[in-house]
Symmetry: C2
Subunit: 321 residues, 2 copies
């Protein structure tokens, strides 16, 4: 099987590429990685790039012509589409950012697939499509879907594009709606932010919101295992799952874990308000029973995943502290 991974040098992508390269969960004859390295980093997969089974393309999904050329050359059997803007707050400042990086890029990927007959796609969606759901934990069939961030709006648009390509062109899709994913090679999110801030200035840690925002944190290794498991065990035309662990971890707990890891005398300073930023959904709980029914559950709880990620990110970002 030839697998093409978009965003394959990014946080989740680089972990996925490494796992697929090892072949323990799913074996691939050829791995084609596309990343524009705007958020991803070559170093995350640098040691794999020389492998004759791996083809790395540093290019942007918005360049449809170059994208089609890669598809023409490799004709993948499966696309793992992970590339996206991951900075939700940024989308509120530059209102076409998620539209381009999310919606248009995804259209380009689907159209590239259609042109060469690639029919299977795994897609990284988000719980942000639920907006401020009135049902917690939120099940996959929740409606209405009124995202409050342009990021969520873009992911919802992508899900719609995918489902319509499934119906019109015989695609098959595995859509995973993530809560927060954490772990090695993290490039964004609260933990990365906190560690970065403490490295610069260890005495104070500014935290957005009142710290009571709480979301499920899934370790990236669980995320990848879950995505592969669903791909192997669900066989509808459009397969869709919340991919998370039950429960949640508060922002305060994350901040305290990072402060403890630094071992410094740090004042945590909250900016106040229930939200971290405009478009932030302060309370996220995801109903994970569909994945459980399929036979999968996360190895790490939300708190355990966060603790493991703090350890891994400290090692990468602030070694020796």
């Amino acid at each position: 099987m030839k697998i093409l991974i978009t965003g394959g040098a990014g946080f989740i992508g680089s972990n996925l590429v490494r796992t697929l390269h090892e072949g323990s969960l799913l074996s691939a004859d050829e791995l084609v990685v596309i990343d524009n390295l705007s958020l991803g980093r070559r170093e995350f997969i640098a040691d794999l790039i020389d492998d004759s089974r791996l083809f790395f393309y540093e290019q942007d999904l918005l360049d449809a012509e170059s994208l089609h050329a890669v598809f023409d050359k490799h004709r993948p059997d499966l696309v793992w589409h992970l590339s996206a803007n991951s900075d939700i707050g940024y989308g509120a400042k530059f209102t076409d950012w998620d539209l381009k990086q999310g919606t248009l890029a995804t259209y380009n990927v689907l159209e590239a697939m259609r042109r060469v007959g690639t029919k299977k796609v795994v897609f990284a969606s988000t719980s942000a499509i639920y907006g401020e759901a009135t049902v917690l934990p939120t099940p996959e069939d929740y409606g209405p879907l009124f995202p409050i961030s342009l990021y969520g709006a873009s992911k919802l648009a992508c899900e719609g594009l995918i489902s319509s390509f499934c119906h019109n062109f015989g695609f098959q899709a595995w859509i995973y709606r993530f809560g927060n994913i954490v772990g090695k090679n993290g490039t964004h999110g609260a933990l990365v932010d906190f560690i970065g801030k403490l490295k610069k200035s260890p005495n104070r840690l500014p935290v957005l919101g009142n710290g009571k925002q709480a979301k499920p944190y899934l370790h990236v290794s669980d995320c990848i295992e879950g995505m592969v498991f669903g791909f192997q065990h669900a066989n509808e035309q459009v397969n869709y799952f919340n991919l998370a662990c039950p429960g949640a971890t508060s922002v305060t707990a994350l901040a305290e874990a990072v402060v403890e890891a630094f071992g410094t005398d740090t004042q945590i300073e909250y900016s106040g308000g229930t939200r971290g930023w405009v478009g932030d959904v302060p309370q996220v709980r995801l109903d994970t029973s569909r994945m459980t029914s399929l036979g999968w559950q996360a190895r790490y709880s939300s708190d355990q995943a966060a603790a493991k990620a703090v350890e891994e990110l400290m090692e990468q970002m602030a070694p020796g502290v």
Copy 2:
């Protein structure tokens, strides 16, 4: 109040512009009409264009710079965004058509609003966002939302953009999910198609599908009254309603009504299959209880609306038959 209407020379748009111009339901100090006349027709509103309160711009919503200029000049209080591709089948052939005419055009409208501080938007959405719903009649809170047409995907993307602009920039929205709308100035759909075909060749009427597809048909006068009523009586930040009548009319009933109006000896020939075309949802029933709770219901039943529309379209398209 200054009202800007996109697609204001189109089917629903021209009827809306005429109603707003009369001022019986809602009075406007200024009407700004934008239409690229790709589906709309100048003749639908030609007699109004000379009015000093009405400003007509023949331009495309994809030309953001010209759009911004219109918004800079008129600074509307309310936008009635009706412009879209209305040919669902076309979107399956040209896969970027709905993306451009729907998603990108809507983004341009929202961004033009944001730039000048316009906060209120009425949006023409569609029951196609529900895809092939397993619950009939389908309520507004139905999930999951997996549209099967690129048209439905685009409208879902637009709803997400609108809800995120509401949250991020203080917009207020009235989203109406239509079934089929019929009546004077119709430019597309089964009735227009059937009348056009019989004008050309009165002895046979080719019909897509097996004729058993059945959907709710709402008369355009009811559509406009309902949209205005909801705008006046619902005051959430994101207001969303199915706008339809209860019940449904089959394609066979539509075909027979048109044949009867022509008074010809016509053979109705079905192409077969449960769907009219790829992306067609064969059975649509919409739960209209939210509009009913608000205090509004359609004047005409689905069958009555269809009969009235046949009469009106015959007068426009095949006068004297």
